[in-house]
Symmetry: C2
Subunit: 336 residues, 2 copies
């Protein structure tokens, strides 16, 4: 564990000033240096295996190279996917991701302040649309911030997918198959609400009566129980549009557990595609939004925000939402 070299030692070895070495390392565009000197410095760096000290650099330059990424549940595959693409995008831009617990941040204003006012990170990516207690973000503006998955919020840059559009597509798919009794299985938060609106508009445009929301939640377990009892209590829907894939897995299990068949008795269409959707039996039909890319786009928006702050909502639609038809959707049973 030899102590690693400092900048000044490199300078001494190369016979130049520390400032010069610093400018060389940071590609200072105003730097004009003799080729011979440059080589002396470069080989001194090489020789001493010099690596800049991150904290010193952060203090002096007021940049940490860190982006905070605040999530409610990393274990939801939907978000795990975002984490991965965000990490890749951040790394490509020379940043690292600091993982944060959104619930914790929302609950403890001081934790939040230590992060933002303490300049722990250069920017903040925060998940919204979940339980929507974003009130404690008032102080967030001390640092560039992007809210993802959230409704537009005054004073903030937000980015989300076209939730309503995806739900409309999913609902239309069932309508086209001949279903007339279609229910929406929803959860808490604004992103579920937006999807519900999309369901409503598809029903309206087809002149069908909407069903009351089945409150399944974001997790598979509760969604399963609710669905099972819905089916056992003779719920009349032959088609279910489910708010997210994780819940859809539970809905899938719940329908089957109730003794009804998928898709012969009940069709299921989920919003969002995930790695496991094709491997359920029967496989899940989904409306696939560009979820993976959302992580990347959120990072890119944040980097932009760090250069020049703006407000306003971005709805990300590339590539556009498409239906992935698998085995969980089919025409309704005869006579339904």
């Amino acid at each position: 564990m030899a102590k690693s070299a400092r900048l000044s030692e490199v300078a001494k070895l190369a016979g130049v000033s520390p400032g010069l070495v610093s400018r060389l390392i940071n590609d200072d565009p105003t730097l004009k240096i003799r080729e011979e000197t440059r080589e002396r410095v470069t080989s001194a760096i090489e020789m001493l295996q010099y690596t800049p000290h991150a904290s010193a650099r952060a203090l002096r330059s007021a940049q940490t190279g860190l982006l905070g990424f605040a999530l409610y549940h990393v274990t939801d595959p939907i978000y795990a996917q975002m984490v991965e693409s965000a990490e890749t995008a951040a790394a490509a831009a020379g940043y690292s991701l600091m993982l944060l617990n959104a619930a914790e941040l929302a609950a403890h204003p001081d934790t939040f302040r230590r992060l933002t006012q303490g300049r722990r990170v250069d920017g903040l990516l925060i998940q919204g649309g979940y339980s929507d207690d974003l009130s404690s973000l008032q102080g967030a503006k001390s640092i560039p911030t992007v809210l993802f998955n959230a409704d537009a919020l005054d004073g903030f840059r937000t980015v989300r997918l076209d939730d309503a559009g995806a739900a409309t597509l999913a609902t239309r798919h069932l309508i086209e198959l001949g279903h007339r009794n279609i229910a929406f299985v929803g959860a808490e938060g604004s992103s579920s609400e937006r999807r519900f609106q999309g369901y409503l508009s598809a029903m309206a445009e087809a002149g069908l009566a909407p069903h009351p929301v089945i409150a399944g939640g974001w997790d598979a377990g509760p969604a399963r129980e609710v669905t099972e009892s819905y089916c056992l209590s003779r719920g009349s829907a032959t088609g279910l549009v489910v708010v997210s894939t994780t819940s859809a897995l539970g809905v899938h299990a719940g329908v089957i557990a109730s003794g009804r068949r998928v898709p012969q008795d009940v069709s299921i269409v989920s919003i969002h595609d995930t790695w496991f959707a094709p491997h359920l039996s029967p496989a899940l039909t989904v409306a696939a939004m560009p979820l993976g890319d959302l992580g990347r786009v959120a990072v890119e928006l944040l980097l932009e925000q760090m250069r020049s702050p703006t407000e306003g909502e971005v709805i990300f639609r590339e590539p556009e939402t498409r239906m992935v038809l698998r085995a969980s959707s089919a025409p309704p049973p005869q006579g339904a």
Copy 2:
């Protein structure tokens, strides 16, 4: 975006020296202070909404408050679970998690050096047992490091679960159900190898001939294809022990796609439990290791390591591995 207060301003407002304020904030045990003075300082902090500057503190104290967590795939629910419990444990100890890409680190020694020699983090948690190219870790010892999921490695602290034991339990379960033709569906890396050894010993103790490994890999898609063709080509195993839940999902789909029934024709037992295992149809029988806790334990070991470095392997077994019996395992078909 008002500039936030500095320590010196707090000191000035309270009429004391900056050093005093610093010692107060950091709970310096040698500090004896008059109650009245303490209150003056406290209210000055309150008044100015003072929050210490993280980078300055990091530079001066040579501690970043950051732990690096290097993974191959965050999207694997097995690891997402670890990330969550590691984040919680880190936060409880006052640390934050910096998410790192293990493949990237293994491939780029300079990225790795910038992290360790550049003192970007106070410690490093690295996933092993995956593809096992840990050669580039030679330089890792410039910083406290814990390898998780890896075989014991000279000069390193490692922690893992009792992989062999879990595989033995899973295999025995099938043997007790009456299966005699049992195959192991495996993947690359040492953690799969350890599980395979556990399978072998259970087969040996029952006097059964082991089958050749079915190379399914860590992902559901490939595992599914391999399993489907295994079944279609009349593979004789009536029981499958699968290396991990993600692969098991694929195996489950593959068996069903081949036209065989789970569990009437083929029983499936997976190593590791996950949130989706109970919701497959039929639900997955598993050997559940304390995976969630592994994240916490790895963090705790790392914190220990930061206090006083040691080497050696820790095998974490609390709570001990237990079989969770669900619907995917049953006695073999008659005459098998």
